[in-house]
């Protein structure tokens, strides 16, 4: 019995040793990470699946980032965010500002060898504007003559739209009204030339790697939906060949996961979660830059007491914008003007400053007694950042004005619906530039804008913004925008601009030539890896 028992113990010990040996073997067999990264390959985090790489249907930042590498337009944003020649080597505008003529490069071919022709722009634009395409961003071409009418189905003849190929390499665009920033518009993906032959042959699958033909510095090699996209250098690219052989874009939704993958050496460029910024400050991997992305609070100016401009001004004066970067820790840049720093015609002197005394005086002047007023309601979409901002505003208005403030959060789509159907008394929203022209921001609060949820309209403001969009002289344009901004941010105050969001990236030391910019556009054709 005792012998048997001892034998059992020995057997158990041997068994245990065997298990440990197996574990050790397994561990040794697994190749550790952080070995040599693939040469010539840059790995970035896209964050999300691009909803579509069909540039007529794409609307989001991820699609735009990829299409910037895959495609080119008539013009291309330079590092200074001014439009530079791309597929068009030069252009001119008629004296009345209505007709733009673009002269295309003659050496451009698509990745399947098909040469670029002006007609491809004409067909692409007609497709974008066709009601059947149902493109969300068709309105970007509304400045083109008859574009809106054709998109609305009011006219059926696509040839009535003001775009035509004068010859194989000359594109002529006729506008509804002069628009000085038209060459900025043509940097945007929806204006890229179209390959309707591919769309017709492959249907919705034309953007899959086996059919997708492009003419930018890279071509699409692999697309594992919801997981990763691989780009390969385009040997037929007309410009200087990119140094990178490959770009892999992963779709890691959570910034914190992406950061761990960065630290494991699996991804080269990631966005930093706000909580990690402090840890990265001072490290060579850290890059930060304010974006052309404004964060503001809007009033429903139809609802009392916010129908009184003095109340709106008082509330604006009662906000110390320096609080926001302290609360959010994301390198936010306080800004009282609506045009963000970095945008042409920005003017830092515009905006109502923090002045609690003036605020209280304005409130008294309006005959508002904060202590008897029912609580003011702020509505925001459910999100930690928006909650922190709202709590800061709540505290500041209570402290500086004695105002009671209620916070309400809503699920995103519920919030958006409410903004349109019955705008809350006070709401938060943001706006990111589609193209770096002030009109893209100033247009938002014109009477006809679908994005103006304030109920405020001002004929002077509308006129100034329209006039500025036609003004060729930068100095005169500055005067017009300054005047419009003063109406918006100081006199009428339907919105209170709070701050500009910053880009916070970690970039691996092996990456060279990567320069982030305020539009968050990646110029990967000039990036190299060690």
């Amino acid at each position: 019995m005792t012998r048997g028992r001892r034998g059992g113990l020995a057997r158990a010990r041997i068994r245990r040793i065997r298990v440990w040996a197996a574990v050790a073997l397994l561990a040794a067999a697994c190749r550790p990470l952080g070995g040599e990264p693939p040469p010539g390959e840059l790995r970035i985090n896209l964050g999300t699946e691009p909803p579509s790489l069909d540039w007529a249907l794409a609307t989001d930042g991820t699609s735009f980032l990829l299409l910037e590498q895959l495609m080119r337009g008539l013009t291309r944003m330079g590092p200074d965010l001014r439009p530079q020649p791309a597929l068009a080597e030069r252009w001119e505008v008629s004296d009345d500002g209505l007709v733009w003529t673009f002269h295309l490069r003659r050496d451009v071919v698509w990745s399947d060898g098909v040469p670029l022709e002006a007609e491809q722009f004409v067909r692409g634009w007609r497709r974008l504007l066709s009601p059947q395409t149902a493109a969300e961003y068709a309105y970007f071409l509304y400045p083109v003559k008859n574009a809106r009418a054709f998109n609305a189905g009011e006219i059926d003849d696509p040839s009535a739209v003001g775009v035509r190929a004068r010859d194989r390499h000359t594109l002529e665009v006729e506008l509804e009204a002069p628009l000085v920033y038209f060459p900025s518009l043509t940097t945007f993906m929806v204006t890229f030339p179209g390959r309707l032959d591919l769309v017709e042959r492959y249907g919705v699958d034309w953007t899959e790697p086996e059919h997708f033909e492009t003419l930018g510095a890279f071509v699409l090699e692999e697309w594992r939906h919801e997981y990763k996209i691989v780009l390969r250098a385009n040997p037929k690219y007309y410009g200087p060949p990119p140094s990178l052989e490959r770009v892999t874009g992963y779709m890691v939704d959570m910034d914190s996961t992406a950061l761990v993958l960065f630290e494991q050496g699996l991804i080269d460029i990631v966005r930093l979660p706000a909580l990690e910024i402090r840890r990265f400050r001072g490290r060579p991997e850290y890059r930060t830059l304010p974006l052309l992305r404004g964060y503001y609070y809007g009033f429903n100016t139809k609802l009392p007491p916010f129908d009184d401009v003095r109340v709106r001004r008082a509330l604006a004066h009662a906000i110390d914008r320096r609080e926001f970067p302290k609360v959010l820790q994301g390198g936010e840049l306080p800004s009282g003007s609506w045009l963000p720093p970095g945008m042409p015609h920005h003017n830092a002197a515009i905006g109502l400053p923090f002045d609690p005394e003036r605020a209280r005086a304005l409130l008294a002047e309006a005959g508002v007694d904060a202590s008897t007023l029912p609580p003011v309601r702020i509505v925001y979409n459910t999100d930690q950042t928006h909650k922190l901002v709202a709590e800061s505003v709540q505290a500041q208005w209570r402290e500086n004005l004695g105002l009671a403030v209620e916070l309400e959060n809503r699920e995103w789509k519920v919030f958006l619906k409410e903004l349109v159907s019955r705008p809350p008394p006070i709401y938060r929203l943001g706006w990111g530039a589609d193209f770096p022209d002030p009109d893209n921001f100033m247009n938002l609060f014109t009477s006809s804008s679908a994005n103006n949820h304030t109920g405020w309209s001002d004929a002077r403001y509308d006129r100034l913004v329209a006039e500025a969009s036609r003004e060729l002289d930068p100095a005169r344009r500055q005067v017009l925008y300054d005047r419009a901004q003063r109406i918006l941010c100081e006199e009428e105050v339907p919105i209170i601009p709070f701050f500009v969001t910053s880009l916070n990236l970690a970039v691996a030391p092996r990456v060279h030539g990567f320069e982030p910019n305020a539009m968050d556009i990646y110029f990967l054709d000039s990036v190299s890896v060690r």
């Binding site: 990470l33 579509s52 992963y250 779709m251 890691v252 789509k413 958006l416 349109v420 679908a450």
Partner: protein, 309 residues
């Protein structure tokens, strides 16, 4: 058996129809639509889009159109991903969830039953109490905490295994562990309880009295009967693991189907919500059927309805 299975499969059709109808109705009742955007669309554009997806038709007709599509096996287009059908999306993502779910399932069954036996066969000992303590932890720690803890405590500290992505089997290690933690603990508790319960039954005493070896009593008489409880749980567990867990797939950046349960609703991507809901419902129906079939095999006293006649 075949008749029984066929009858059960036929019964699934009205179940799925009810699921489809209720989901369809609930989605239309949700405020906010698929094309409400931060950058609001001009009315002309909205009209074009609604016409394209037939959203301008009366809801009853949209419902009829959807059902007609379903009969043909067409789940419709995704609103969020223009150019991709819901069927494409499910075809891409479901296999990934199955791989992850299967890995977690194997882990949970092996570890859970093993731990449950180890505890139940030695009820009341220190070993038993230690295992119970661990299972309590497994049940009460949510997966986002466990996932983060594994990432920080293992992946970041040792540089291995990968904290995300889906390239090779090594990449499945942490997510499968995270996903398996809860069912492992639950299965361990189930197994332990029924082992203790079964071990006290008359037939076990009879077997011992007959002189059946202790090993045979334990591994044949006790284990087989104790597994019945685990098998009951196997059905919902299978469906839960195979459709993946939203949280685990999100934390580890795995391109599975689980994430669509949340993102499709947030995007108001009606056809995609319908698609994932129906797949999930079908999985539950099928796994319940599988469980009933396994029951009959494990316990001769259980007779399936079709067999009696």
């Amino acid at each position: 058996m075949i008749r029984y299975t066929a009858a059960r499969l036929l019964q699934a059709i009205p179940v799925l129809l009810v699921v489809a109808t209720v989901t369809f109705a609930l989605l239309r009742l949700l405020p906010g639509g698929p094309f409400d955007r931060e950058k609001a669309l001009p009315p002309v554009i909205l009209a074009n889009i609604e016409a394209r997806y037939h959203l301008d038709e009366p809801v009853a007709r949209q419902y009829a159109r959807y059902l007609a599509g379903l009969v043909r096996g067409d789940f419709g287009p995704s609103y969020k991903y223009p150019g991709r059908d819901v069927a494409d999306i499910l075809r891409d993502s479901f296999p990934v969830s199955i791989q992850l779910g299967a890995a977690a399932l194997v882990l949970a069954m092996l570890l859970g039953v093993g731990a449950g036996l180890a505890a139940g066969m030695r009820a009341g000992t220190l070993q038993d109490r230690a295992i119970i303590g661990l299972t309590l932890l497994g049940i009460s720690v949510p997966s986002f905490v466990l996932g983060a803890a594994l990432v920080l405590g293992v992946a970041l500290r040792f540089g291995w295994p990968p904290a995300g992505l889906w390239e090779s089997p090594a990449y499945a290690l942490l997510p499968a562990l995270t996903l398996a933690a809860f069912p492992t603990a639950y299965i361990a508790q189930l197994t332990r309880t029924s082992v203790i319960e079964v071990a006290g039954r008359d037939f076990v005493r009879t077997a011992r009295a007959k002189g059946v070896s202790e090993a045979r009593v334990r591994w044949v008489h006790v284990l087989r009967n104790a597994l019945l409880a685990v098998v009951t749980y196997f059905g919902p567990l299978l469906a839960m693991l195979l459709t993946g867990s939203f949280v685990v797939e999100q934390i580890f950046a795995i391109p599975g189907m689980g994430r669509f349960f949340v993102t499709a609703v947030t995007n108001r991507d009606y056809p995609l919500v319908m698609g994932v809901t129906l797949v999930y419902a079908a999985l539950i129906v099928l796994s319940n059927l599988a469980v009933d079939l396994v029951y009959g095999w494990l316990d001769p006293r259980i007779r399936l309805a079709g067999d009696e006649s």
